[in-house]
Structure formats: structure tokens, C-alpha cells
């Protein structure tokens, strides 16, 4: 039982980070039909912003703030202006290919301009462990879980309880109607990119102490979050959260109780089952298009 609790908490913490990244996927998709295959690299990069700031002498808290701001500007604003806006007019596919190219560029740039070697990254909380009913649970896992949940709740509040959030939702659901109603659609779309920049920075700060900061981190994270978004529902933020949590827990429990050798296959089995039985995702809504 102790092992089970341990695995569950650890899986929840990993799943919560996947959820944060997957939420970014769904936000961009809903507001601008952008599928960002560089999302994993977007999570890898802020850790290097922070480490670079620390190397220049900034304390960790200031470096974190700098990293967060840089992420919002570079991975939010500049991404939209330089990549998305020029490419989107040619359809989804050229944009997808552009984001794949961007992912390669970011990965290799992080390696060339910083280091190919994994870097230790400071943790937000001390590396101490708690003993709960015989299960050893790290304070780090609990902190990751708490911050991820708080971030998702804050996002939920913003989207559902504020005027700005409702305008963003209206933009996502029907941009033409939103524009007629006087909503500044372009600005709302920009806000979702800035929010995504902040989400990936938070995910990066949470995951880098565990993963270590390395230029290849985005590969696994991007795929996991993409799967989570599809499993949960690509057009629903709560779906992405559910998908992330399912993947995190499934990975740990399947490796411990089924097979560690085939652990990578279990999320794909779930994905296939979801596509066959509920193509819109577990919490997604059916989108119909007329031709």
C-alpha cells in the first residue's frame, strides 16, 4: 500500500506538469488553430533562461522572474508575431511544419549556446521527504502538485470568472461573432499566446529540478503533453488536465505493476482506445464542420 501511495503521488506530480503543458496546447488550438509541436521545447527553454540569468549573478528568485518574463515575450509574443501570424494564412499544415522546424532550432540552439550536458536546476523546496503511512513522499513532488493545481485553478478562474476570460472563450468558440460583439479578437488571441508562455515557464521551473535542465527534455515532454491533450480532448482545457493526470499516473503504475519494458506502449494503447471509442477525447466536445 505504501508503494502504491508513493507511486500515485509521484504520478500525480508528473501528470500535473503534463497537464500544464497540455493546457497550452488546447488554448492555442482553440483560439488560433495552432498545433504547436515545439511545445516540449518551449518547456525546455525557460530553464536555460533562468540558468543563464543565474550565471550572470542574479539570485534564483530574480532569475525565475526574468525567465518567466522572457518566456512570455519570446515564447508568447515573438512566437505569435514571427511564426504563427505569417504562416497561419497558409493553413494549419504549413504552421505545423514550421513549429516542428522551430522545435529543432530551439533544441540545437540550447545545446550550442548553453551546453549539451544536463545541468542541475535549483528546486523550489528543499529535497526533504515526508513519511506518510510508510510511504516516502518527497516535498518536491507535493510542491509540484500544489503549484500545478494552483496554476490550473487560477487559469480556470481567469477563463470563467472574469470578463477577459469570457471574451477569450467567446473568441475561441466563434471569432466572427465575437468580433461583431465588439471583442478585440486579435488581442484575445495574443493573450492566449502570452498565457501559454507563462504556463510553459511554470512547467519548466517545476520539472527541471527532477528532469535536470537539458536540451533534449522537450522531446518526451512534448509528446506526453500532446497525447494528454488528445486523450482528454483537444478542445477542452479540463480535458487536457484530465489527460495529463491519467498519463502521469498510468506511467508509474504500469511500470511498477505491469511491465517496465512496455511502459511506453500503455499511453498509446489508451490513445488508440480513445480515438476508436470517443474520438473527441474523454471530455472533449464534438466539432462538426460542413463542407
Amino acid at each position: 500500500m505504501a508503494s502504491f501511495i508513493q507511486l500515485l503521488v509521484s504520478g500525480l506530480a508528473t501528470g500535473a506538469i503534463y497537464a500544464l503543458i497540455a493546457v497550452g496546447f488546447t488554448l492555442l488550438w482553440q483560439t488560433s488553430q495552432t498545433i504547436n509541436f515545439a511545445q516540449g521545447e518551449f518547456v525546455m527553454l525557460p530553464a536555460f533562461f533562468i540558468l543563464a540569468a543565474m550565471n550572470l549573478g542574479a539570485p534564483f528568485w530574480l532569475a525565475t522572474l526574468i525567465g518567466l518574463l522572457l518566456s512570455i515575450v519570446v515564447l508568447g509574443l515573438l512566437f505569435k508575431l514571427i511564426i504563427v501570424d505569417p504562416m497561419l494564412r497558409y493553413g494549419v499544415l504549413p504552421l505545423v511544419i514550421s513549429t516542428i522546424a522551430l522545435s529543432l532550432f530551439l533544441k540545437e540552439a540550447a545545446k550550442d549556446f548553453y551546453s549539451s550536458q544536463a545541468q542541475p536546476f535549483p528546486a523550489l523546496v528543499p529535497a526533504t521527504d515526508l513519511n506518510v503511512f510508510g510511504a516516502v513522499i518527497s516535498l518536491q513532488s507535493l510542491a509540484v502538485l500544489a503549484i500545478a493545481v494552483a496554476t490550473v485553478l487560477a487559469l480556470h478562474f481567469l477563463l470563467n470568472k472574469t470578463r477577459l476570460g469570457r471574451c477569450m472563450q467567446a473568441t475561441a468558440q466563434n471569432p466572427t461573432l465575437a468580433r461583431i460583439l465588439g471583442i478585440p479578437v486579435e488581442r484575445m488571441v495574443l493573450y492566449t499566446f502570452l498565457i501559454n508562455g507563462a504556463l510553459v515557464a511554470i512547467a519548466s521551473i517545476l520539472i527541471s529540478p527532477i528532469y535536470l535542465a537539458k536540451f533534449t527534455n522537450g522531446e518526451t515532454l512534448g509528446i506526453a503533453a500532446f497525447l494528454a491533450a488528445i486523450i482528454g480532448g483537444f478542445n477542452q482545457v479540463r480535458g487536457a488536465i484530465l489527460g495529463g493526470v491519467i498519463l502521469g499516473i498510468l506511467d508509474n503504475l504500469s511500470a511498477a505493476y505491469l511491465s517496465s519494458q512496455y511502459r511506453g506502449a500503455f499511453p498509446l494503447i489508451i490513445l488508440i482506445a480513445v480515438i476508436l471509442l470517443r474520438p473527441q477525447g474523454l471530455l472533449g466536445r464534438v466539432e462538426e464542420r460542413t463542407v
Binding site: 549539451s116 550536458q117 544536463a118
Partner: protein
């Protein structure tokens, strides 16, 4: 030079190729290495060690009066790309090819160099590399069939374990090591009570440590890549693993120790190559490397460095740039630091291209790798 000749030279230079015809003052020894992707750490270490040696040799006039010309091509840590890159350099008739480091890529590439009769000096450690009857592949570090008996003897005689758990990474390197290790354990009547496979790049080891802890083995053998080693050690410490943690070079390197942030203390194992070896030449190399590249060299850096000096020594022995003669001469050759200081440690290549030299037993004490014993060459 005619206009067409000039055009050909410009095109060749633009493509980064310099054929032996165009540049007789150099010898073309291309390197195919993992400069990006999962193997970038290994590949860049190997490359930097290699570049140090090349600069030293070229600074003293080169090999037999010809400067070494080594373009470095990136495999992107992908066996298919590695093969394509090798094909590209083979078209330019190299004297010797250096790399790759990843065993999976070596296993794919070696058929091409065998066919082209070009010696290939590789960094791969998978046992299978030298068990396929190839006559043109040469290692720069121990194959697993050489290193595993050493660690197996230590587990039996030093730890006196009756049961052991194995954690390995599911790639050519890890699977080859796991298979050889399990065979060596069976030969010593040590029971493998847990056999846990992990993924390359895996971040969360909680499930794996739970499984290993439940097996209650006398010792735990860890055979994964460096960063995964660090992550595993942190999780093992968190879950309070008490059994001795043993491994190979990939568990005891200084990079692993630094990344594990205190969780590596007490780890023991067999170290084939390390800049902490109690050999002055190796330590001096480590210092020079750090001064030039600003990071601590791992075993791959030593492999890259010694690979170039091995080529130099063999070539000077045969007195000409003849790929076939090189391969023939290198089999069975022993190079001592007295004959060739750049080789750092005495090394012998057998008929299969396997290398034999001294190695070490190490232990991590207070965040530093400490060599506790020097193990003789297997051939002695």
C-alpha cells in the same frame, strides 16, 4: 589550374570535402559522432578529446609529415543518419574513420567500413560489435565482455552477494550489457532476483526503485546512461535503498556525481577510463581538457583522444597511409605510453579489435570519485 579544375576545387571546398587528390599534404580521417540528440554528451566529449589530440599532432607536423584533416559529421544520435554520413565520407576514400560512439550506430556502420576495407575506430561498448567477425573495427574502450567479468568478480568476491538486482536501459548499450552481466552472474551462481528495463531519457524512476526495493537483493547493478544514473540515484536515496549500488563508468563519473547532488555517495563499481585514474599522464590530460573546454572530461573524451594517437602510432609503425595494412598491423598490437605518450595507458588490440588495458575499481566518497584499486589487463 584549368577553369573546370578550379570550379571542382571550389565545389569540393564548399561541400566541406577535401579529397586526397586535392590535398596531399593532409590525411583525410573523418569523424562521425553524436553531436546532437540523446548522445550529444558522449559525442561532444569524444569530439573534444579527439580535437585536442589532432591539434597536438598537427602542431608537431602531423603524421608522417601530413596534417590530419578531420571533418566532424553529426549522426544526430540516429543509426540511420550515422550510416548515411558514413556512406558520404566513404565516397571520399578516407584513410581511417573515427566514431561513432553509440553502439547501435556502430553496429549499423561497421558493415560498410568492412566492405570498403577502411578501419573504423569506435567508442561503442556493446559486446556484439566485435563478435561479428569484422576485421576493420577497433574499440577505444572495453567491450562489455571485458568489463562485466571484472564487475562480476567484484560482486562475488568483494560484496559477497548471493542475489542481485539489475536495472538497465533499453537500447543496444544497455541490453548488451544486461545480457552479458546476467551470463556472468549465472557463471558465478549469483541469482538475478529483479531484472528492470528502463527507457533512454527516462525521468521518473519511482516505479523502478519500488520494484528493485521489493526484490531485496544483496546488491543492485545499475547500467543506464549518465543522466538517468543520476536520476535513479536520487530516487534510490529517497526511497532508502540500503543494498550496495554498483555499476560501470556510467554510474561513477563526476558528471553523475554532480547531478545526483549527494545521492551518489557510497556507489561503487568498475571504471574503464577516468581522468581520476592514479596515472599522472591521464590526470594531466584531464587538466588540459578542462582548461581548454571548461568542463570535466568523461571517459568518452579519453576515448577520442587515444583514438587519434592510436591511429598515429599504427601509421608510423607501418610507415605509409594504407588502410588495409593499418587494420592488419593494429590487430595484436600493444602500444605503451613509452612508445606513444598520447596513448596515456598501455593498450592492446586483439584479433577482433577488442581493447585490453588496466582498469579501476572506484567508489564515490564525499562527492568525489575515489579509485580504490587498479585491476590488471585481462590478458595478464
Amino acid at each position: 589550374m584549368s577553369r573546370s579544375g578550379l570550379f571542382a576545387a571550389v565545389v569540393a571546398a564548399g561541400l566541406g570535402f577535401t579529397s586526397p587528390v586535392l590535398a596531399q599534404s593532409t590525411v583525410y580521417i573523418p569523424a562521425i559522432l553524436e553531436l546532437s540528440g540523446a548522445g550529444a554528451v558522449s559525442g561532444t566529449n569524444f569530439r573534444d578529446g579527439m580535437l585536442m589530440a589532432i591539434d597536438e599532432i598537427n602542431g608537431k607536423g602531423g603524421i608522417l609529415g601530413r596534417k590530419i584533416e578531420t571533418p566532424v559529421l553529426d549522426t544526430q544520435s540516429d543509426a540511420g543518419i550515422s550510416r548515411a554520413q558514413l556512406q558520404k565520407v566513404l565516397d571520399n576514400k578516407p584513410y581511417v574513420v573515427i566514431g561513432p560512439v553509440f553502439s547501435g550506430s556502430v553496429l549499423v556502420d561497421m558493415a560498410l567500413t568492412q566492405q570498403a576495407e577502411i578501419p573504423e575506430i569506435v567508442g561503442g561498448e556493446a559486446a556484439a560489435i566485435t563478435q561479428k567477425g569484422g576485421t576493420y573495427v577497433f574499440r577505444t574502450s572495453f567491450g562489455q565482455q571485458f568489463s562485466m567479468p571484472k564487475i562480476a568478480n567484484y560482486i562475488r568476491d568483494g560484496i559477497k552477494a548471493k542475489t542481485v538486482a539489475v536495472l538497465w536501459v533499453n537500447n543496444d548499450f544497455g541490453k548488451g550489457g544486461r545480457d552479458t552481466f546476467v551470463k556472468e552472474m549465472a557463471a558465478r551462481n549469483i541469482k538475478v532476483v529483479a531484472d528492470v528495463s528502463t527507457e533512454s531519457g527516462q525521468a521518473d524512476f519511482s516505479a523502478d526503485v519500488v520494484k528493485i526495493k521489493a526484490a531485496n537483493a544483496d546488491a543492485i547493478f545499475v547500467y543506464v546512461n549518465e543522466e538517468e544514473s543520476a536520476r535513479f540515484l536520487r530516487e534510490a536515496k529517497k526511497q532508502g535503498i540500503k543494498a550496495p549500488l554498483l555499476g560501470e563508468t556510467t554510474l561513477l563519473g563526476q558528471k553523475v556525481i554532480d547531478l545526483a547532488q549527494g545521492a551518489a555517495d557510497g556507489v561503487r563499481g568498475h571504471v574503464g577510463l577516468t581522468v581520476d585514474a592514479p596515472i599522472p599522464a591521464v590526470q594531466q590530460f584531464g587538466e588540459k581538457f578542462k582548461k581548454r573546454f571548461n568542463y570535466v572530461c568523461d571517459h568518452n573524451g579519453i576515448k577520442g583522444y587515444t583514438a587519434v594517437y592510436m591511429i598515429k602510432h599504427v601509421t608510423e609503425k607501418i610507415g605509409k597511409f594504407d588502410s588495409k595494412a593499418f587494420a592488419q598491423a593494429a590487430h595484436g598490437m600493444t602500444i605503451t605510453p613509452k612508445d606513444e605518450p598520447g596513448i596515456l595507458m598501455e593498450a592492446t588490440w586483439d584479433k577482433n579489435g577488442d581493447i585490453d588495458r588496466e582498469s579501476f575499481l572506484g567508489e564515490v566518497v564525499n562527492g568525489k570519485q575515489k579509485i580504490v584499486a587498479t585491476l590488471p589487463k585481462l590478458g595478464k
